[in-house]
Symmetry: C2
């Protein structure tokens, strides 16, 4: 097929827009969507020190490349990457993340669950079972990233959450019947380094394609604990439905943003954990998982 | 299998509760759920005149039977049934509804799209195409039922909407990204006969079983226009997911009730349609469909 804009050979077809796009127009479309998200949410301001959570996978590598591309020439914004070693045997290799950060030309900060919490995720799974391992890992990883970003005086933490991830999160909250998580803002927690999500309006397959076009040597192994995640179930259901109704993921993410924008529920205020003596999320949730 | 409560042979297994139930315990469980819904929502009050929307299918027949059973001895509440002929060739037979109302011992009021709107649903579909025929039919049927209930001084209109119907409706609104319909109350519209939904907490298969146990001769044909409904798509998706996570439909309906109960958005006030000079729903939506 030919590109709907310039008649060069197309490399992708977007069902939701009806457009075939060549490499140049795909990249232009991709980057304009991510830039618009940053502008609309006012996610980046002068003097910001931004840390990208870099796992070494395709999503976070693509995000680091993209932010370096648009911010590399700005002297008033600093960009770094943070790699967290959760301690899963056979997963996550620091060298992969280090090579990518090096190739893109960004400083890499490293940390681990072992250093921050005193135990690896493998140990947590061994003690608590692997049924909720993804929930544990996600919450602890968020906590760990925040701690390291805070210690390094970062003002923003950039996560490579894409349209599919967010639509799945919203749907999981609907299937669980959780109104508070649907109404509360996700990224305005007090005393916490604010989170930015530039790839929010971009489907997972487009982020993957962008990564293949720009980054070499990223990690493609899946976490050995991820087979249990509820999100996998919702993932295939949502993809099936979106095949028949192509704009569904956008509709779900817009719904979520609108529900939050009404401001019916204020953001959670981080309390001080009485055990660990530091600010924490939602009733010391990370502490309860250790 | 044996009943989990009395060791008689079971006739149903409820995956969401883990219970096997015999006929007597199934009926007791079913009726206590519907009565609790009526009590919690304060749906029935002394001096109420209740009209059941009776299509002649299993759901509405079961509802009429159930309401007659619990209200039959009360002198302060009157029960009737309304049958609407939408004008679909080969569907809806007034005689089926008449026989059921007669067998249960309830007065039947009849009306039709032809009388109220001057055209049948077949004519509307012929003029507008059948892509949205279920939406047209649902809105016009609601309008028609309300008009007839209002003309007969009814104070409540009882619909046989069950747990599956409501969970599907909520999910369609999520997939469409429609926050207003998630936050607005469905049954408190001004100048409109209030709607009650006693089967809201009961799964479709249990309503069907209750109908098979108590009512004879109900209609089992499907409407010939229903193959296009978006709801069919959501129906199978939700059933698949509920098979793996049995309480999902309850979670979704509870979510919807909680979102509405916050009272973030007031109920719609019915305006006066400038063309037809009568109160109507959401910007004269029925008028636009004719």
């Amino acid at each position: 097929m030919l590109c709907s804009k310039c008649r060069h050979p197309a490399i992708i077809y977007q069902r939701y827009s009806g457009l075939h796009l060549c490499k140049a127009h795909f990249i232009a479309d991709f980057e304009s969507k991510a830039k618009r998200a940053i502008r609309n949410h006012r996610w980046i301001k002068p003097k910001d020190r931004i840390a990208v959570a870099l796992s070494g996978g395709k999503n976070s590598s693509a995000l680091l490349y993209f932010l370096k591309k648009i911010l590399g020439t700005r002297r008033d914004v600093r960009l770094s990457a943070i790699f967290i070693d959760e301690g899963t045997k056979g997963n996550r290799d620091c060298h992969v993340a280090a090579n990518i950060a090096d190739a893109i030309g960004v400083e890499l900060i490293t940390g681990s669950f072992e250093e921050v919490f005193g135990k690896t995720i493998d140990k947590v799974v061994m003690e608590k079972g692997d049924r909720f391992s993804c929930t544990f890992c996600r919450v602890l990883r968020g906590k760990c990233l925040n701690r390291i970003a805070h210690d390094h005086d970062m003002t923003k933490l950039a996560l490579a959450i894409n349209l599919d991830d967010e639509a799945q999160n919203v749907l999981v909250n609907v299937f669980r019947g959780d109104p508070e998580r649907l109404l509360k803002p996700a990224d305005t927690l007090a005393e916490i380094v604010p989170i930015i999500r530039p790839f929010l309006p971009i489907p997972a397959r487009e982020v993957a394609l962008y990564a293949y076009l720009h980054v070499e040597g990223f990690e493609i192994r899946q976490c050995p604990h991820s087979h249990n995640a509820l999100i996998n179930d919702v993932h295939s259901l949502l993809n099936d439905y979106t095949w028949r109704h192509p704009s569904t993921k956008y509709a779900i993410v817009n719904l979520s943003e609108q529900l939050v924008s009404y401001g019916f529920m204020p953001g959670t205020h981080a309390d001080i954990c009485p055990v660990r003596g530091e600010s924490d999320l939602s009733e010391y949730r990370p502490c309860r998982m250790l």
